[in-house]
Amino acid sequence: MEPVIELTGVGFHYSTSESPWKQWALSGVDLTVRPGEYLAIMGPNGSGKSTLAKMLNGLLVPVKGSVRVEGLDTRNPDAVSTVRRKVGMVFQNPDNQIVGTTVRDDIAFGLENLGVPRDEMIRRIEKVLQRVGLAGMEERSPHHLSGGQKQRLAIAGVLAMRPQVIVFDESTSMLDPGGRREVLQAIGDLQRQGTTVIHITHSAAEASRAERIAVMTEGSIRRIGSPGEVFRDPDQLRNWLLEPPPSVELLDRLRKRGMPVRSGLFNTDELVEELWALLSRG
């Protein structure tokens, strides 16, 4: 299948041309994202995650290499508006993404800019609010929504543009546990309904919901694979200033103490099964 996003040898630095030395924020990044996949990107502060996110919809364009979205090169100025429509972004702070005075207006804003006819607009708004579970809140003021609801509104606004891909750039980090649960649920639902999801996060627990995890440090992708593969080596993760999920950490320590625990387990059911078996064997 054609990749929906393809990065080839991508390098980027923020310094201007006069600057004598350049610090590469990204270097040699190759990444292929399949349509409909759920990809998480993990990395410590300053690893280039957010720079990479901005590459994906042409907010930044590579200095070296290329980024293609459904075959369109982001360096091509004529393609930029199409690329931005294909790849939507949801950011960290819910309060910075709201423009309308009601939930309905907030979504209508983006559609008006696209010149979508009124009837079509009404249909789309209804549909996207349903998809994120905000149906019935059309007249509410966004500022009176909870953090999780605000982020779901931001998702609805992006969905209304009918993107192929949605990039979540630490979109849960400012939410309380309930809000985080709501947004993670919404992300999972979107992906099941066919949207490609790229979720940038510090949290191993959140990343483990994805099908593949890419680990970035110092502007490069160090590892990419299933959660089981990426979390197999907790010591390596710690070297990268990251942490495995608590459950993986626990199993790793038990193994080091000499308990015969299988490796590569990271979901709760398997874990409980394994620990129970070990304890009841004695």
Binding site: G43, P44, N45, G46, Q92, S146, G147, E170, S173, M174, L175, D176, P177, G178, G179, R180, R181, H202, A204, A205, R238, L241, L242, E243, P245, P246, S247, E249, L250, R253, L254, R257, M259, T268, L271, V272, L275, W276, L278, L279, S280, R281, G282
Partner: protein, 287 residues
């Protein structure tokens, strides 16, 4: 004695049509030298509560007392309470403003009226406490990394040597290593200096790792108080309130549904569960 809060209520814009009750009838005691965790969903009143403890808001009803300093609705001078408490706001690095790290950290102690020599001593001590290299003192705070900026901002509060340190979501936006380093530092200061710490956090793992007493608030009311073990035993209610229990506590719950002799509820960190499972397994092996 520590911090004693009695019948605390706060109504924003009281007496106007826009009046909004943010806190109602809060009673709580935080013993001197404890490490308290404050949890609650967004909008529950956590920020309003900590601003009362820090002397930034005056109660509409009730009192806030730290040792012999009491603040109530009629209190005129908030200074004495403020001097006892250091409050680190969310994203404190946004408040850095001076031309050097040292000057920024010195701002608070200067305002306390300390002499140059003492201010200088406090600045370097605070830098040492938070693990900032003294060589960074002449650097502009804006040349520091994100994690270092946050440390510099916290050092500015610590340099005033408060008896009580309140941290509002201090690790938001830091990577896991940065989160752990920062809170380990705070925990060490708490142990060495006997500083009372109040940690506001949405991360139950963080709260579980450091706090010895928890306060749960929702809709401006105190819903639960107790040791972490006691509070995390209320998983169902916490979930209903939009909160969570730590991953390890959830794992223990699941295991307990199958085990004939359950794992104690006091176990909610990776360390504790690791020790428990290992010793249990070893006994089993020998027996």
């Amino acid at each position: 004695m520590g911090i004693v809060i009695q019948g605390l209520s706060h109504i924003y814009m009281d007496g106007t049509p826009f009046a909004k009750t943010a806190l109602s009838g809060i009673n709580m005691v935080i013993d001197k030298g404890s490490f308290a965790g404050l949890i609650g969903p967004t909008g529950s009143g956590k920020s309003t509560l900590i601003q009362h403890i820090a002397g930034l808001l005056k109660p509409t009803k009730g009192t806030v007392r730290i040792e012999e300093t009491v603040v109530g609705p009629e209190t005129k001078k908030m200074g004495p309470l403020r001097n006892r408490v250091g409050l680190v706001f969310q994203y404190p690095e946004h408040q850095l403003f001076e031309e050097s790290v040292a000057k920024d950290i010195a701002y608070g102690p200067h305002n306390q009226g300390l002499n140059e020599e003492e201010v200088h001593r406090r600045v370097f001590q605070a830098m040492e406490w938070v693990g900032l290299d003294p060589e960074l003192s002449s650097r502009s705070p804006f040349q520091l990394s994100g994690g270092q900026m946050r440390r510099a901002a916290i050092a500015g509060v610590l340099a005033m040597q408060p008896e009580v340190l309140i941290l509002d979501e201090p690790t938001a936006g830091l990577d896991p290593a940065g989160q752990r380093e920062l809170l380990d530092t705070v925990y060490q200061l708490h142990r060495e200096q006997g500083m009372t710490v109040i940690l506001v956090s949405h991360s139950m793992e963080e709260i579980a790792r450091y706090a010895d007493i928890l306060f749960v608030i929702k809709d401006g009311r105190l819903m639960l108080t107790g040791s972490p073990g006691e509070v995390f035993a209320e998983g169902e209610r916490l979930r209903e309130w939009g909160l969570e229990i730590p991953v390890v506590a959830r794992l223990v719950d699941e295991l307990n549904q199958r085990l004939t002799s359950p794992i104690p509820r006091e176990i909610f960190t990776v360390n504790a569960l690791e020790r428990h499972l290992w010793s249990r397994w070893r006994k089993g092996e020998k027996g």
